[in-house]
Symmetry: C2
Subunit: 466 residues, 2 copies
């Protein structure tokens, strides 16, 4: 007897006639008039459960097998056999079905074998991975994460983990969460009456990071190609379906890259990820296409097949103005593009992913490289049909004098960015990178609308369940 995963048992890699044991949870049970029961068992290893055929001759057939309900844990041993059942190549003809864990009060067990609303499932986040949908989401999420690491590794990047607790604010904007061990009931006060942060854990005010980019830049100027893949935080109280307070971000940073190389990297990267999901998670994607988003597979295939278009921001403004389309927000050189503009560009005008480049300097972050026109910076946004903006990046301002001028313009204190300025004094080189919110990617691939369904434990503003 050898223990095998359900996925392995169904894969065809184990010879029919082998004696196997699977361990998992009952999805459904059907009793046949012929005096046997069909018990579908899932262990989450892949999308499909395996059918365990339990004959009445089992010792515990009447006392236990016929009492099995959704969610019960079982260990089933028997012979792997070709199945006559629809849509399954193999089944297990059981010689024993051991019940390891019963379901207390099956009537009220929240995960019944029927569709549940996503809202309801967010309330039972500790149980929702047991559903078809969230099993699929978790496996797809894993597949994407593995592909992220594999892509960068194959391309010669090194992973670095930048500080989560930090004193700096990469965006110069963005609401941050304070991190502290001060006793709120008894806050230490300084001479002027203000809070004395020298008494806090790190001896100064600290926050949760909004981005690892500035740190990654310093590493890129030593190891050439690095990336981060870790959690970042925004304390914006925007209760939308597109924002999370806590999300994982992927941030590659490459020395000697200009904006064109940066855009190429973004294209190669996204296509690699989507190819991985198409190859490795066919079972889950088929379910998504059947139940959630019928274009789930074809749109990934189209994404991979199409070369990205590149449009200069200035040209994009011209196109939008001449489009004849009535937009809610104004279209004017110097204003940022809104979602409706981005969608028109990628979905209506081009019909495939678009990289918009060279935005007006006043609407982009201080660290972006000023172009020779003195009016625009080497920024880029990758827009894609059905997602909108999925990647934001730029060539960074590697010239210290220019950086200082930008910082002055944004009213940033150079002292606060001491080390960030400093590494530009020694062998500075052009460099570029981008950021990609991981959960937004997961939501897109899984055809979901609410970003809270891309994380293990959803948390709505005003409520931290876990």
């Amino acid at each position: 007897m050898s223990v095998t995963s359900v996925q392995e048992a169904l894969s065809g890699r184990i010879a029919a006639g082998s004696r196997v044991t699977v361990r998992g949870w009952v999805r459904t049970r059907r009793d046949s008039k012929a005096g046997l029961s069909f018990v579908n068992v899932s262990d989450g290893s892949g999308f499909h459960p395996i059918q365990v055929v339990a004959p009445a001759a089992l010792d515990n057939y009447e006392t236990e097998v016929k009492r099995l309900t959704a969610g019960c844990a079982v260990v089933a041993t028997g012979t792997l056999a070709p199945s006559q059942g629809q849509g399954q190549a193999f089944e297990i003809q059981a010689e024993s079905v051991e019940v390891v864990g019963w379901v207390e009060d099956p009537e009220t067990y929240p995960i019944q074998p029927k569709p549940h609303s996503l809202e309801f499932l967010r309330e039972v986040a500790h149980l929702r991975p047991r559903t078809n949908l969230f099993g699929a989401v978790t496996r797809i999420r894993h597949c994407l994460a593995q592909a992220v690491h594999r892509f960068f590794h194959e391309q010669g990047f090194y992973w670095i983990s930048t500080p989560i607790i930090t004193t700096s604010d990469a965006e110069g904007a963005g609401q941050m969460f304070r991190v502290s061990t001060l006793d709120l009931a008894n806050l230490p006060r300084g001479e002027g009456g203000g809070i004395d942060f020298s008494r806090d854990f790190f001896g100064k005010e600290t926050f949760l990071t909004v981005s690892g980019q500035l740190n990654a830049e310093a590493y890129a100027l030593a190891l050439s190609k690095v990336y981060t893949f870790g959690p970042t935080f925004r304390a914006e109280n925007s209760n939308t379906t597109r924002h999370l307070a806590e999300f994982w971000m992927i941030e590659p940073e490459v020395a000697f890259n200009d904006l064109a190389a940066n855009a190429k990297l973004a294209e190669d990267f996204l296509k690699y990820l989507f190819r991985a999901v198409l190859e490795e998670r066919q079972d889950d994607l088929a379910f998504i296409a059947e139940r959630v988003e019928k274009n789930a597979i074809t749109r990934l295939e189209e994404f991979i097949a199409a070369p990205f278009e590149q449009i200069d921001y200035t040209d994009a403004i011209g196109l939008l103005q001449k489009s004849g389309h009535r937009f809610e927000f104004p279209v004017e050189w110097g204003l940022d593009l809104q979602t409706e503009h981005e969608r028109w560009l990628t979905e209506q005008h081009v019909g495939r992913p678009v990289v918009v480049t060279n935005y007006p300097e006043q609407i982009k972050a201080f660290y972006m490289r000023l172009n020779d026109d003195g009016k625009t910076v080497a920024a880029m946004d990758v827009l894609a049909p059905g997602i909108g903006e999925i990647i934001g990046g730029s060539q960074r301002e590697e010239r210290l004098d220019m950086l200082d001028a930008r910082m002055a313009q944004f009213g940033l204190d150079p002292e606060h960015y001491g080390w960030y300025r400093d590494f530009r004094r020694y062998g500075t080189v052009p460099h570029a990178g981008f950021g990609l919110g991981f959960e937004r990617l997961v939501v897109y691939v899984c055809g979901l609308n609410n970003i809270r369904d891309a994380i293990a434990y959803p948390r709505t503003p005003g409520h931290a369940t876990f």
Copy 2:
């Protein structure tokens, strides 16, 4: 002309005579009396720099090449040629050396081509990846992280990211960092005068997670094999060389596993990681062995070769008592093992890694499974020569009534652990897992003593640099 990494140029995979371009930073420059200069260029892609031979005939030879100092950024193009130089297979006979970034005031550039103290390098964390040592540490760290993901993926695990901001405290102990957006200068008060956390971002008191284990357990009871690899936090003000306030933790959790299977997983896992480093980072390990820890390679090889020993805690106490060794801390059944005891067991007594199992229930966490003797729990610690305790794990208490009894004994409020209790009501099964601090592993492999040298940006208690 094709741009290549230095590692690729040195690998032998590019034919001698090819025209190549490398981009990187000068490590050293030596001028020959024959009228040419040898410029060692590193791009961080591997340990070794490549020697660029710059002839006097270059246009900028006198004006620029002869002014190159450590840290200057260059782009060198030329012919890849077998090298007569010691310890290098190839060099580049340059036809151009473009200087991209100079070093401002070379005399004061902190990263000179000489050994620096680790203390000094912690103060210039944004520059230390440019040193041989921290280049090696970063690449080894990357190699280990990749191996973590690859091992679990190959074994059929799914990666999940558990919440960083949380309301629960997995250990029931452990000092936590508060996360808040409340205005400290104007804290909202409730009726009794206490802080009104319903006005905080999540509507309740929230902290940084100390472990993802409890969350991972719920996923293991749906997907069978899961793991986390993400940051965790401890606000203990222990200014030691072995503790960090912020560190990455790896936590696998497996349904149907007992303690023996858990120990086997830990052994397979560690050996897989060390094998990966030995195979993939020979260049960096050779440097570590030469300069930092002379046994760096042999001890990893020995670790892989030796089967782990297993010792019951009760037996370990007996062995320690009979050892004849004088320990500083008392050895007595019911007391936890101290580092000196652990080191004696693994280094003196067994001479290879040891898994100590079945600790007294009163010294271990509430979620560990009570053994049939009613006195011990199915806990395990993996101890290894030169590291001490590297992994801590257990079989979890899957029986709800037993868990409730343990929680009562520890004075924990069952309400606070509602969802953690709840998933045991539905198809509960034996399950087990462990935790491994990633930076402790890195420090060990790299032969370093201070855990602050395993992270990208060191931060000493009382001082958050970044």
